[in-house]
Structures are given as C-alpha cells and as structure tokens.
C-alpha cells in the first residue's frame, strides 16, 4: 500500500518545481495584488457606496447603496453630455487616425519615396512626445486672438474662428489634433503589416490582370485584417479615455463642449464624490470592454 519510491520522488520534484515557479512569480503577484487587483476590487466595491471625501477617516463607515450611483450616472445630464462628446470624438477620431495612418503607410511603403526614414520619423515623433506638451503648443497655435493659425488666416484677410473657445469648433479642433498625433502609431503598425504581405500575392494578382485598386482591395486589405483589428482596438481603447487634451486646452469648456467621460470622472473625483466617480469609471470600463468585444467579433479573421 505504500507509494513507490519513484512516485514520492516525482511528487517531491513537482512540489519543488511549483515552489521555484511561484518564487519567480512572487514579485509580480505581490505587486499586482497590492497595486492593481486590490485597488480594482476596492474601487469596484466603492462604486456601490456613498463614499465621499468626508468619509476617508472612517472608510468602513460608508453605507452600501446598491446601484444608486449607476442610476444617477445615467440620469446625470452632465454625464450624458460627456458621453455624447466622447462618442462623437471616438466616432470621428478613430476612423480618421486609422484611415490617414493607412494612407501614409501605403505611401511610405513605396520603395520610390525619397527620405522615407525622415518622413516616418516625422509622422511618428508626435506620438512619442508628451501629450501635455503637445496640448500646450496646440493651445498656442489655436488661440483665438493671439494664436498662430488665426494670425496666418488674418494675414490672408480671414478672421479665424475661436478654435478652442467657441463651442461649435472646440471638439473638432481637439479631434484634428488627436488625429495628427495618433496617425504616427497607426502608420508604424500598418507599415509592419504591409511588409508582412508576401510579394508573390501581388505578382500573382498582377498576372491575373488586377490593377492597383484591385490589388489593394483584394490583396492588401484582406491580408491587413488582423492588423486592422489591432489598430482599431488600440485606437478606440486609447481614445475612449481622452483626458489630457481637454484638461490642458479647454478645461472641458466652452459650454461643456469638450468634457469627456474621463474628464467628468476626474472632476467628480476632485469634488470628493468617490463612490460616484468609481461608478462613472466602471461605466466607462464596461463600455470600452463592450466596444472591444464588438470589434473582435466584426473584424476577426474569416476562416
């Protein structure tokens, strides 16, 4: 009935292996638990409480109020405005960055283009520059009364609009700036994707008599499908959370035209409404998760 020596040895070895594995994983597990999983769990629980800044000395004294915060979020006209702004922003900025990024990548993928590397660097540079620095500079460019752009327009005899301080233009100005900034990353991703397409496919297509458009439509695009999925997911996850642009350039104004959901959450947090802020954040998180899921369904590789 006793276990064979070989079995005992194997068990001991398994146990030792597990120990070694866990000790390697431990630094990550501890840090992840303390600084990611823990706070995520706490913030999720917080979203069901009425916690305010005045409760922080006795955080366990807060009362659970079920889904009240979530109900309030959806009934809050300020949140709806922020959600509308964010939707509009994502709806335009995501296709614009992807479309223009692809266009630039196609252009720079031609072997005939001179100074390819300089141009690539030029397009990519905004992406690796601090977004706050970019926003500060663009605020100066887009200033109404002393801005660079309106100065140029003034030289042509055109009175430029209030790019950032007129509610009809403010969000669009920010969308344009984001597109300019985000384009570089998309370009790099698409360049990589384009170079992975075997040239035999194009040769075969041209033998079959496909022109440039047909080659793009029936070779390039289908082959780029996984790349497109990646681009769309990365772009929408990033842009759904846009915050720095309104924070630096407009403080959400004028007339709340540039308040994003993330900015709205930030405002509520600074007012000390912690429970409410947590609820807003989870609504944003759920929306991003749902959108990502949808994109995976729509753009998954066809088999």
């Amino acid at each position: 009935m006793t276990a064979s020596p070989a079995f005992a040895y194997r068990r001991r070895r398994n146990w030792r292996q597990a120990l070694v594995a866990w000790s390697f994983a431990l630094p990550f597990v501890v840090l992840f638990g303390a600084f990611m999983a823990g706070p995520i769990l706490v913030s999720f629980l917080t979203s069901f409480t009425d916690m305010r800044i005045t409760d922080i000395r006795s955080p366990f004294g807060v009362s659970f109020i079920g889904f009240d915060n979530y109900v309030d979020v959806f009934q809050d006209p300020a949140f709806r405005k922020a959600a509308r702004n964010t939707a509009l922003y994502v709806l335009f900025a995501v296709p614009l960055t992807i479309g223009l990024g692809l266009l630039v990548a196609l252009g720079l993928n031609q072997a005939t283009v001179r100074l390819r590397n300089v141009l690539r660097l030029g397009y990519f540079l905004p992406y690796v520059t601090s977004i706050v620095a970019i926003a500060v500079v663009w605020r100066l460019i887009l200033g109404t009364d002393a801005g660079l752009l309106n100065g140029l327009l003034g030289g042509l005899g055109v009175k430029g609009p209030g790019w950032l301080n007129d509610s009809r233009y403010s969000l669009w100005s920010i969308i344009l700036m984001t597109t300019w900034r985000g384009l570089g990353l998309q370009m790099i991703i698409f360049l990589a994707g384009l170079q992975a397409i075997p040239s035999e496919l194009y040769e075969a297509a041209s033998v079959d008599g496909a022109g440039r458009w047909h080659q793009f439509r029936y070779v390039t695009l289908p082959m780029l499908r996984p790349t497109l999925l990646f681009s769309a997911v990365i772009a929408s996850i990033g842009l759904m959370q846009f915050f720095e642009e309104p924070f630096v350039m407009t403080q959400g104004g004028p007339l709340d035209s540039t308040v994003s959901v993330a900015y709205f959450a930030y405002e509520q947090f600074s007012f000390g409404n912690y429970g409410y802020t947590a609820a807003i954040s989870y609504v944003l998180f759920m929306t991003i998760a749902a959108l990502t899921f949808l994109q995976f369904r729509l753009l998954r590789p066809k088999t």
Binding site: R52, T54, I56, G143, T144, N165, S167, P254, L255, F271
Partner: protein
Amino acid sequence: MNRSIGVVAVLTLAATAVGIVGDTVRGEGPQPARPAAAEGDITVWAMGTEGENLGVLADAFMEEFPDVSVEVTAVPWDAAHDRIVTAIAGGEVPDVSLIGTTWMGEFAVLGGLEPTPDSIDPSQFFEGAWDTTVVDGVSYGVPWYVETRVLYYRTDLAEEGGFNQAPANWDELTQLAQATVDGGAEYGISLQPGGIGAWQTFMPFFWQAGGEIVDEENNFTIDSEACVESLTYYDSFFEAGLSQDTVSDVPVEGLFADGSVGAFISGPWMIGVITDAGADPETWALAHQPTEASGTSFVGGGNLAVFEQSDNKPAAWAFVEYLSRPEVQVTWYETVNDLPAVQAAWDDDALAGDELLSAFGEQLDDAKSPLAIPTWEQIASALDGQIEQVTVGDTSPEDGCQAMQEEAESIGTGL
C-alpha cells in the same frame, strides 16, 4: 433651593480648583492655547510664495519662544489639497498649515481641523475673512492674509468718452464701460463669461443686489429676485457687446495696458501685473465695487489652521497667534505683499500710506466669502456652468438662476 446652592458651590469649587491647577502647572506641562506653555517641535506647511518665505517669520518666532522649534515645509499649491487630504486620512499631519479659504468646509467636516480657542478674538480680523473659518457655526483657524476684488478702470479712456468719476452704482458702471468704448477701447469691461472661477466675478453682483446663497438654516436661497437681477445685469455687458463673450487667450493685463479693454475686476496682485505689462500709472485708477443694496465684493485669501491630530497644539496655536499680531502681519506684508487679515495692521504707514492699497482696505470692510461647506467647489463649478449658459448660451437669467438652485440643492451642503 438647597440643591441649587449646592450645585453652585460645587461648580465654584471646581472652577477654583481648575484655576489653581492651571496656575501651578503653567510653564511645566502642556496647556491648551497658552503661549507660555509653548515648547517642542512643530511642523508648518505653507504653499507658494508663503511657503518659500515663511522661514523669516518662523525664525523671529523662535527667538521669542526659544523652547519651540518650527520647521516650515513648502508645498506647491497644485499638490496642496490632495496632500492635506492624504495627511488627515493617514494621521500624518503637520501641526499648522495654510489652508485655502474654499477648502475649510471640507477639511473641517473631515474632522481634520481643531476649533479655534477662545483666546483668539474674532473681532480683530475682517468679518468677511473670519467667516471663511466658520463651518456650521464653529470656527476652525484664523484668517492669515486676505485679498478682495475691486474695479480697475482706465481713467483716460473714460474721460475721453465723457465719464469723469468712479462708478457709484450699476448704471454708472455700464456708463463707464460704454464711455471707455467711446474713448477707444474695444471692450468696455472684461468680465469672465464662464469657465473655472467665473463665480468669483459674478457673486459680488449677486450680493450687491441683496442675494444670499443660504438662509440661516443652510437652505439654499440662490434662486431669488436678486439672482435674476444680477444675472441679467451681468449678461447685459455681453448682450451689448461691452464684454467679450469668449475667454481671450491674451491675458487681461496686456489688453488693459494697451487700451483694448477699459476696465476689469480683480485682486491686489494685478497692480504689479498691469504695471509690468506697461500700463502708465497716470491712466488708470481703482474703484470700490458699485453699490446697489450694498457694495459687496468677494474676499479670499488663506487661513491658518491647527490640525486635530497635531501632538503639539499649544505651540501650534502660539505660532498662529504670533502670525496674527498686527506688527507681524505688517512684516509679512513687507516680505511677500500679502494683505493683512488683521484690521489693526492696516493703520501702519506701510499700508495706510499707499493710496492704491487703501482701496482694497476699504473694500475689505464690505466683502463676503463664499460658503464654508465641504461641497462648495462642486457648487461653484455648477455656478460657473450656469453663468456661461446665460452669457454665452441661450439660457435666460431666470432659467439660469433656477438651474443654479436645483444643482446646488441636488449637491447639498455636505454638512
């Protein structure tokens, strides 16, 4: 009868006993708010210029109280609010800190601040400034320095347009704005149409019309005739094109100095700023806020508070009391140009001799603070939004006031 005599006798005995005990231990052990008992270390947080220069006063204090060692920590304004919140939550507080007047409600309700001892006389401070320390009837700390808003206007442009005196009331303020436009300004007066802090320019008009934010029971009374009147008046500058309805990206000092803007309402720091921007001292003057039911302005500034979790409150209060002495307040004015919150300090030649400053001194006698409640920042932000809806958007002043009231009620006082 007998019983009540007995009670009185016991009370008297108790009081005497306390007195005796108090006398005997004085100078030996910790005594609440007695400068004589001040000893040990205290840490003081202050922000901005105040934080950089407070060491000067701390050194002078330590000369007078050799048993106390004061350590000043400079904290940037941007980080100050969150740092204080974290400090209170974690129990790792300084003993004394400079507190922005609009944060008082929050920190007091949080239980972070110690009530002001009776040994400090409220009447030595400007009333409006003292009110910023009072949260739900209890004072937490003292006003340290103050600022209030007055009217800056271009006398040369106004005269050119046929207006030769300081505007006494609302009608005259409109006339002044119009006159500066006639005299060559693009806009008569720069008023903030919306955005962060617009309420600081608007609220004085609300108070001047007789409005109050809350009644005695802390119920909001924003939606009132005074609100509609003042908001209509405020909006009239934008309607008539006398004020720019977008926030310009050119700072107001430049526009004022070159004559594009005829007037603006702001605080004492702008004297230096517009001078640096090149405004000729001969071309402009300061005026009291226009007077309707009152000529009230906004009072802001910084308060000094002692933390509830401080373990050296006697020394902390001694330092606060020291900073509130009129002569120390004058020294402080000479060091960093902070206007004294203590009225007696204004009699000193350093301040009384300055004509421009005395405009602020006079205005301080009629200046109000916003409500010291924990939710004030959020309510202020709602006011900013509604002001913009009226001045820039299509909302009527009536609807704007109603919306202010509704938003304030749904936010609540948080007390």
